[in-house]
Subunit: 201 residues, 2 copies
DNA sequence: CGTGGCATGTAAACGGTTACATGATTTA
DNA sequence: TAAATCATGTAACCGTTTACATGCCACG
């Protein structure tokens, strides 16, 4: 009765829209929760089998006779109950692993310019992320479906944009600090005092 | 020549302070990069052996004769070079997996109050995190060592606090929205229009 | 008819955590 | 001398990714 989290993404996705194949599910996951959750086929297909064996989902419609052509699944009541149960359980953050921050932490050991490069790269990724998120947000606002899912979806988008914006702001200030520090270091040993954090115009 | 990331945390930690045992390393990791990186003994001890076999670190001092008593290690020049190389490589964010957001995304299926509970729990964790980070920050400012590591360490702290603060702000507004939505839902079907996002005091 | 994309699946490897076993040292 | 904790290590397991194999189908 213990399930890995892949099982719950699948149940959740099927709770939103029935009759999806493994292929569909992967696409759906990627395009909806893709910014904060990922799944691979190697995880999805075996899990589908298991969920079906346990009766939490059932094979539905086009299991067309030829040896192999898209098998769709639908959520059963047992599956829905299982999903609800899991939703009510306290969430669990998996052990933190931020390679960017790790490299920044050891920045003293890096060649000059390396960390600045990393931060610039982070800025690029975050700006792309922000573009993605705001695109989703405005798309949602554009044709305002009255889907009961919307409030929750907008909240997830909201946290995403808030975090990304905060990271970008930090990046700007960090770049200023590091550039200042680097030129100062190569020019003069040290003045009596330094307080580089106050102009972020 | 391929290393897992555990190897680099170890090299990094030894680049900051030599002569650490596996036990020391774990404590050091926990108390310095612990908020964004974790390691377990099961990963540390085998990696130490491997790094020593490859000459990136060397056993140093107290390998006292009795069968087993703390074995310390020190970084070699080869080890330092290896660390530098890795630092210069582009960082790689591992696949996103945020269980909180996943549960929030499927919130429509959850019993009433469940998501509010999750957000409150998130707020608790984030406030604790913020306390930890600001404590570290003020401790650093208190006795301002001129360690060349400090600028980088402060930057990592800065991103942590920025992200945490942003998350907390989001949480406050999210709680208001959800509470409003929930009471509205149980009282009247729907008014002509709703624009719940503009007062976040 | 051939190519490219749709679709399903599996085997192997990997990185990592957990739980456990063991003993040495400190302290009360 | 008993309890706590310092310290090292290993075996088993787990979830996940990667790479690969396969075959169907639509389109040019």
């Amino acid at each position: 009765m213990a399930h890995n989290r892949t099982a719950y993404v699948i149940l959740g996705m099927l709770s939103i829209e029935q009759n999806k194949s493994g292929y569909d599910l992967r696409k759906a996951i990627e395009s909806s929760v893709g910014t904060f959750w990922g799944e691979s086929y190697g995880q999805i297909y075996p899990t589908l089998k298991r969920l079906a064996a346990e009766g939490l989902i059932v094979p539905s419609s086009p299991a067309s006779q030829p040896r192999q052509r898209r098998q769709e699944y639908a959520l059963t009541e047992a599956g829905r109950a299982c999903l609800r149960e899991w939703l009510a359980l306290p969430f669990h953050n998996d052990p933190p692993r931020n390679e960017f921050l790790l490299k920044l932490f050891f920045g003293r050991e890096a060649a000059p310019g390396v960390e600045i490069g990393h931060i610039r790269e982070l800025q690029r990724r975050n700006r792309r992320m922000l573009a993605t998120l705001t695109a989703l947000e405005s798309a949602a606002r554009a044709h305002p479906s009255q889907s009961p899912h919307m409030p929750f979806w907008m909240l997830t988008l909201g946290l995403g944009t808030a975090l990304t914006r905060a990271a970008i702001e930090w990046g700007e200030s960090a770049l200023k600090q590091l550039s200042a520090g680097e030129t100062a270091e190569t020019q003069e040993p040290q003045p009596g005092e330094a307080n580089p954090v106050d102009s972020h115009g």
